[in-house]
Symmetry: C2
Subunit: 382 residues, 2 copies
């Protein structure tokens, strides 16, 4: 095989798209900074047990493993940055109050998440630690919407779910791990017949509640319906009123609800959201509450946040205009060099045409040229 063939689902990002991704990266980080989120840069590799403790089997399967020559221990290449942010909050910053963190960097997956997904997403995310109230959930959701708006995505809609509902319905029942996984899969697939078969031995009220979840998706009327269908479970009402409160705060946003949705990482513990756009078939950002993640690092703190893949995002927004540039034929002359330096100081892109390459076309949009007029160097339109 040729030396230049890349592995499947791994790709170079070439100039025009790379510049757009860099612009989006800056827009997203600047938006998070405007909300008071501090930037952190966790490492690409960590000891496997730090990366994976408490995050579930799905992340384990997604994580590349390698061996540390210095210690002989197993390392993992991060497949998700959220557990790293929780580790930083728990141990390095160790603050009592609210901590807001954001990050942006590559993650690697052993297998693509979806048929056409990259195995190297560029993950951007923001997390708020230390506040158990719904104001934190709301803040991360508004920040996610603001980030996507700033990136130029139009026609956003938010799909909401709650990780506690299924947990509360099944609480205390003696279910094996494989059985639980089957139940979750049937719920996620909204597979009523499968669910009916799997729940045959569960208490009748739990069975009825689980079966009703499969129908509980749609606009905010779903919440009232759910309150009726699940009235035998008082603890679940709390989850429903959390969703209701957030819906009230998000007047004007296009909202939908899906109470059987169990997609995504296993670490969610409360409200969850996915943000969709007309221009993309899959969710562009996912987030929610995950109060348990920091526990394995010895410090269980309330936490909520979201993340997105900038490589997926760039496919959902319109290309930006190329920046104009100035051509300047290379001249062994101090005055020429000073003129070029001055233009660059002003922020202009000046592309030097090196000797012998006068007639070449490059990818920059050169609309002007540096020319010698009398004893001065001047910029003229091309």
């Amino acid at each position: 095989m040729s030396a230049w063939v890349l592995p499947d689902h791994i790709a170079d990002v070439l100039p025009c798209e790379a510049r757009h991704i860099e612009d989006l990266r800056r827009d997203l980080l600047d938006t998070a900074r405007c909300y008071g989120y501090e930037l952190v840069m966790p490492p690409l590799v960590e000891h496997l047990e730090s990366l994976l403790t408490g995050t579930g089997e799905a992340l384990d399967l997604q994580t590349f493993k390698l061996v540390d020559q210095l210690s002989g221990r197993s390392l993992g290449l991060r497949a998700d940055t959220t557990p790293q942010a929780a580790r930083i909050d728990a141990h390095l910053l160790n603050r009592q109050g609210v901590t807001r963190l954001c990050y942006c960097g590559p993650v690697l997956h052993t297998r693509p998440d979806k048929p056409h997904a990259t195995r190297e997403p560029l993950q951007f995310g923001a997390e708020i630690f230390g506040h158990a109230g719904l104001e934190a959930d709301l803040e991360t959701l508004l920040l996610a919407l603001d980030c996507l708006g700033r990136a130029g995505v139009h026609g956003l809609s938010v799909d909401m779910a709650h990780a506690r509902i299924v947990q509360l319905l099944l609480a205390g029942l003696p279910l094996s791990a494989p059985k639980l996984a089957q139940l979750h899969a049937a719920l996620a697939a909204k597979d009523g017949p499968e669910l009916a078969s799997l729940t045959r031995e569960l208490p009748a009220d739990v069975r009825q509640a689980l079966l009703s979840l499969v129908q509980l998706y749609g606009d905010s009327a779903v919440l009232a319906e759910a309150a009726r269908a699940l009235k035998a479970f008082p603890a679940v009402q709390q989850s429903l009123s959390e969703l209701q409160w957030l819906a009230g705060q998000l007047k004007g946003a296009a909202l939908s609800f899906d109470l059987a949705d169990l997609q995504g990482y296993a670490y969610y513990s409360g409200v969850r959201f996915s943000i969709y756009a007309q221009s993309a078939s899959d969710a562009l950002a996912r987030g929610g509450r995950y109060d348990e993640v920091g526990a394995v690092f010895g410090r269980k703190r309330p936490a909520a946040g979201f993340s997105l893949d900038i490589k997926a995002l760039v496919g959902a927004v319109a290309q930006r205009a190329l920046r104009a540039a100035v051509r300047a034929a290379w001249t062994p002359n101090d005055a020429w060099r000073a003129a070029v330096a001055q233009l660059r100081l002003q922020g202009e892109t000046v592309v030097c045409v090196l000797p012998g390459h006068e007639s070449e076309v490059d990818e920059f949009h050169c609309d002007r040229e540096l020319v010698s007029v009398g004893n001065q160097w001047l910029v003229q339109a091309l």
Copy 2:
């Protein structure tokens, strides 16, 4: 061992430093753009043979290996981005003329380069392909100096070398690979006695030339000295006049020369440079000409460039001032939310004080507060 202990020579970058690194990243990429360098983002992992072909044993030892579950083939985590840029120039862009590329992203090393080095540098680099003339060498050197200047490094000096001199002196001699490695090591260490012992069986003029190289370091007077000492080797004179021409173009810069210097990657084929600053003990940027790198991808093109580690750079420049921010106590009120959004649109950082966290201090420098006056929200000094 605790789940939160990181591997040796791997570290989190925490808020203040992370923000500074992000600022430097932008400054460097913007400077390269002003010179007409197009941004590319090669992947973190590739097939091992693409990453390592033609780059020498040192890079092989530095490269983490892992297995691709999709294909069963060996992958490498990139330890250097330069060969990837050469691959992109050779195959993806495939232009006839001059191509300028820049990149910025993490690389990973199996072992630290130096006792206190990180194993995860953040590599920034710029490469120019397709021009064999010294104007390309000069452009990358000026760009490297401009990048370091823009980053705020003062007291820069350039140390120059030439990879061809030793290659030409040893050309055609029947030396085994281990013997060659020993010779290179003795030259790099300026170990005269060792070199004298290793060269005992070489032709007398070659031996004398190699021994003289060890003394040939210092200011530009070295070049005239070298022309005399190496006059038996006409091909070497060409390398010396290349250094002389560049020295003439760099009037005003602090220059030194070291003709025995063989440090760094094996792929250099011409002029090489290292840029030092008073505030750092090791070189901050390294670069030069490496016309051979693209050959393994089926397209040998002239190439010159440089790279640097932003994590090392940030330690050599003064910290920047913290950005001021506005505090705003969370209020369930549309007018309050609009006032906060308006401030953020203007680029302000607004940190929401969530209910119950009123007396907390955070890391942002909040010098103002959003307060309700009459029926308006106004910003007041704290």
